[in-house]
Amino acid sequence: MITLRVADKFGRYPGGRYEDDGPFSGEEFRKSILVPALIEAQGTGGKLVVDIDGVIGFAASFLEEAFGGLVRYRDFEAHALHGLMEIKSSQSRFDIYRDAIWQYIDEARPGDVPAAAAH
C-alpha cells in the first residue's frame, strides 16, 4: 500500500483547474504526482491511499481535473480506480471532498477533453 499525502507532496493550498490558472493546479497534480503514484501502486499490485488531511480546501474544478481527468484522458478506467485507489481523511467535514472525487470519477467520460488537449 502506498500513501500519498497531498499536503506534504503537493501543497496545502491547491489551486484551480489548469496550469494556466497558476501553480498547484489540478492538471499539474494529476500529471506530476497522481498518475505516477497510481502507476507505481499498480506495478506493486497494491493500493494507493490519497490522504487529503492538512489541505486547506479544494475547488471543484481542481478535484474534477485531477481525478475525473484520470478517466477523461484515458489514463485509467473508472472501475479500475475503485479497486486501485482509496481516499482518506480523518476530518468529517472533508467527506464532501471524498464523495465529490468519486462522483467526478464515475461521471467522467473518456475522451471528454478540450480540443487542444485531444490532439
Binding site: R17, I56, G57, A59, A60, R93, I96, A108, P114
Partner: protein, 385 residues
C-alpha cells in the same frame, strides 16, 4: 499736509466700491463667456496635502445607503453612472488630464462621497474596481475631494478596504476600527489563484483568532468559496472570442469582512466580464437551461433580453454548466451553494449584469432582474460561525 475731509473719505469709498463691483461684473462676464456660471469651493487633496480649490459644478451625490441589499437599485444605477464617467475621462489623453489638473485648484466634476452614511464591503468593492480600472488604464489617480466632510465610519471602511489608495489623498490617518468589524484590504489579479485565495483566507482567519474564535470549521469553506468565485471570473468572465476594447481590464477583485460580534464572515469577488447571461447561450448544453424558459416564454431568451437575466443566473446555479461545452465543467456555482448548506447558516448571492440570485440555507433560490447592469459579475458568500 493735505487735509482729508469726510467728503473725501466718502468719495474714496464710493470709488473703491465701484471698482470692486466692476471687478465682480467682469468676473461674471468672463465666467458666462467661458460657459461656467458658478464655482463651488472645495478642498482638493493630493499626496502632498490639500489645497483650496474650486469645482465647476456641485458634486455628484452618492446614495446615502451604499448597500447592494438595502438599496440595490439606486446603488447599481449610481455605479453605472460612475463607470460611464470614468470611462469617458479615461479616453482623454493623459497629457490633457494632467494639464487640466496642473494647479490642482480646479475640477470640473467630482463625486461627492460625503453623502454616504452607510457602506457595505461588497458595494465598496465594486466602486473600488471602477476606480482601479481607471487607474490601470490611465496610470493616474483622481484626487479626493472634500474628504474632511466624509462620514467618519464610511472613511474608515473605505480606508480599510484600500479604496483611498486608489485616490490622491492627504495622509490623514484612518479612524480606529469599530469594535468587532474588520474589512480586509481588497486584492485584484488574474492568475495565481491559490496564493491570492490563501492570503485572503489567512487574513480573515487571523482576525477571527485574534477575537478568540476558532475558524477551523469554516476555513476550508472560505478558501474553497474564494477559489470557486475567482475561477468563475478567470475561466468565463473574459472569453477570448468576446469583443474586448482597450478599456477592458481582465481582472477580478475580492475582499472580505469579519464581524466578530455577530460571528459572521463574508467574502465578495467581482469582475468586469461579459456576465453569466451573455455566456450561457454559448454553452453546448444550453438546452438544459432552456427548459427553465420554455414553459414561460415558449422559446429561449436572447442575449440582449436583459429582463430575463435573473432567471438565467438561477438556471446556471441549478444546472451547473459552463460555456466550454464540456460536461465536466461548471460545477463552481453549484459548489458555492453546497458551501452555504454545510455552514451553520449562510447566504450566497450572485449578481450578474441585470440579474440577481440569492440563496439562504434552508430556503429556496430566489431571483430578480433590475433596471441597470452591475457591469460584470459579483459573487457574495456569507457564512455564520
Amino acid at each position: 499736509m493735505k487735509i482729508v475731509t469726510v467728503a473725501d473719505k466718502r468719495r474714496n469709498a464710493y470709488h473703491a466700491w465701484k471698482s470692486f463691483q466692476h471687478g465682480i461684473h467682469w468676473r461674471r462676464w468672463r465666467r458666462a463667456k467661458n460657459g461656467s456660471t458658478a464655482h463651488y469651493r472645495v478642498i482638493i487633496a493630493d499626496d502632498f496635502g490639500h489645497v483650496r480649490g474650486r469645482a465647476s459644478s456641485p458634486g455628484i451625490k452618492c446614495p446615502a445607503v451604499f448597500c447592494l441589499d438595502e438599496n440595490a437599485d439606486e446603488v447599481i444605477e449610481f455605479l453605472a453612472g460612475v463607470r460611464k464617467r470614468l470611462l469617458e475621462v479615461s479616453r482623454t489623453s493623459i497629457i490633457q488630464q494632467k494639464a487640466k489638473r496642473k494647479t490642482h485648484r480646479h475640477v470640473s466634476r467630482y463625486t461627492d462621497f460625503s453623502t454616504i452614511k452607510k457602506i457595505t464591503p461588497a458595494a465598496a468593492l465594486v466602486l473600488a474596481a471602477e476606480y482601479d480600472r481607471f487607474r490601470r488604464i490611465t496610470g493616474t489617480r483622481l484626487p479626493a475631494i472634500n474628504r474632511h466632510k466624509w462620514n467618519v465610519e464610511v472613511d474608515r471602511r473605505l480606508g480599510e478596504l484600500g479604496f483611498l489608495s486608489l485616490l490622491e489623498t492627504d495622509r490623514r490617518a484612518i479612524a480606529p476600527a469599530q469594535a468587532g468589524v474588520h474589512i480586509a484590504c481588497f486584492r485584484s489579479g488574474a492568475a495565481n489563484l491559490p496564493q491570492d485565495a490563501g492570503q485572503m483566507t489567512e487574513a480573515l482567519t487571523t482576525l477571527l483568532r485574534e477575537a478568540d474564535i476558532d475558524p477551523d470549521a469554516i476555513e476550508h469553506q472560505l478558501y474553497t468559496g474564494l477559489l470557486e468565485a475567482m475561477e468563475n471570473a478567470r475561466q468565463h468572465a473574459y472569453p477570448g472570442d468576446a469583443a474586448h476594447d482597450d478599456q477592458t481590464v481582465p481582472l477580478w477583485w475580492m475582499t472580505g469582512e469579519v464581524d466578530v460580534l455577530e460571528r459572521r464572515v463574508a467574502i465578495a469577488v467581482y469582475d468586469h466580464g461579459v456576465s453569466i447571461p451573455v455566456t450561457l447561450p454559448t454553452w453546448a448544453l444550453f438546452d438544459r437551461v432552456q427548459r427553465f424558459f420554455r414553459p414561460v416564454l415558449g422559446r429561449s431568451p436572447t442575449v440582449g433580453e436583459v429582463e430575463h437575466d435573473g432567471r438565467m443566473i438561477r438556471a446556471a446555479l441549478s444546472v451547473g454548466r459552463t460555456s466550454t461545452g464540456l460536461q465536466h465543467r461548471g460545477k463552481g456555482l453549484g459548489r458555492l451553494r453546497e458551501i452555504v448548506n454545510q455552514a451553520r447558516a449562510g447566504r450566497l448571492k450572485v449578481t450578474s449584469r441585470c440579474g440577481e440570485v440569492w440563496y439562504q440555507k434552508g430556503s429556496r433560490v430566489r431571483d430578480r432582474t433590475r433596471r441597470h447592469s452591475i457591469g460584470g459579475t459579483l459573487i457574495e458568500l456569507e457564512l455564520q460561525l
